[in-house]
């Protein structure tokens, strides 16, 4: 059975016109039903509030509002219509410290440029197939940062009795 991507609305946020165009059209070729485009973080946030997309794909380095600041707005602003929306960040950085910084800002998935259509498709389907739990503390609101299950862990379950909202 195939995914029904035609039921999906994806917002792409990029300040480079060729990059915005290429990512948006590649998503259409993949079968995404509704692809919204915004040039830059500020316009992107306004469109997110207005259109309430299912998934956001944003560039990291943008001149007006960068990707990490945009994610902070999405996760924390009072007018954010869906604080748990999956956000895929695109960037040419690939160092572990960058991935870690993105994760600490509430990014859902990381897509390293340059990428292929297949890699884009994989990230998209991953966020659909693996929705993440969210954590809220005084300093952080975002996807649960624990990704790996240590199968041989024998110690106490630190969060075993946590109550979910």
């Amino acid at each position: 059975m195939a995914y029904k991507l035609e039921k999906l609305t994806v917002l792409v946020i990029e300040d480079s016109v060729p990059m915005l165009e290429v990512v948006a059209n590649a998503l259409k070729y993949l079968g995404v039903g509704n692809v919204l485009q915004a040039r830059g973080g500020e316009a992107g946030y306004a469109m997110f509030v207005r259109e309430r997309p299912d998934i956001i794909i944003t560039d990291w380095e943008m001149d007006d509002v960068d990707g990490l600041e945009l994610i902070r707005w999405i996760r924390n602003n009072l007018d954010s219509p869906k604080r748990t929306v999956p956000v895929i960040i695109m960037t040419g950085y690939a160092a572990a410290s960058r991935v870690s910084a993105a994760r600490d800002h509430g990014v859902t998935e990381f897509l390293v440029k340059p990428f292929t259509a297949s890699e884009l498709a994989r990230r998209l389907t991953y966020v659909i197939e693996h929705p993440r739990d969210f954590v809220e503390t005084e300093q952080f609101f975002g996807p649960d940062r624990r990704r790996r299950a240590a199968m041989d862990y024998q110690g106490p379950e630190k969060r075993g009795d946590d109550e979910y909202v």
Binding site: Y3, G92, P114, F134, E136
Partner: protein, 174 residues
């Protein structure tokens, strides 16, 4: 275990929200049509944009940063963020728009710089060599990453970075 005991005293305690399966329910599970993925890739490969002027602008700005860095003898590390950002931009744009050889070399230098996190005279010279190589690749329209001239340029840059690591190991005992 009581929250106070687990997290210490706080005004507020962490709250956990269960994953939302709404997208999965709407879109379903399964596979992506491989024909769609191929069509998307064909589109990406054939997207017609001349990215070279943009790449030259990035390289020119890197050149200006290096000129400025040569006049500064202290706190050169402040040059690192803009230099890394420029390298990242060259790597991303060249790779997304079929300038694969420039992408390959930029990716290598970016990884090296992110690892080293230094901006001394030797680094300035390595970046200068990277600049010359990238401009030459664009001038000669060498796009394919298997091109032998491109490969030999990449080997030169690799060797320079290796010498830097060796010199640093001697100087720092690492």
């Amino acid at each position: 275990m009581a929250k106070k005991e687990k997290y210490g005293h706080r005004d507020t305690y962490p709250r956990f929200y269960k994953a939302d399966n709404e997208l999965q329910q709407r879109v379903g599970t399964g596979t992506l049509d491989p024909a769609n993925v191929s069509r998307a890739q064909e589109y990406m490969n054939s997207y017609a944009v001349d990215i070279v002027p943009q790449l030259r602008m990035y390289l020119e700005s890197l050149n200006s940063m290096l000129d400025e860095a040569r006049t500064v003898n202290y706190q050169r590390e402040e040059f690192l963020p803009p230099v890394l950002k420029t390298l990242m931009n060259v790597k991303s744009d060249s790779g997304m728009f079929q300038e694969m050889m420039v992408c390959r070399i930029s990716a290598f230098v970016l990884t090296f710089m992110e690892d080293i996190q230094k901006f001394d005279n030797d680094i300035v010279e390595i970046l200068d060599a990277y600049l010359k190589v990238s401009k030459t690749l664009l001038d000669l329209k060498i796009r394919d990453e298997t091109n032998p001239h491109g490969q030999s340029f990449l080997s030169e840059i690799r060797a320079a970075c290796k010498r830097y690591y060796e010199k640093r190991a001697v100087n720092t005992g690492r």
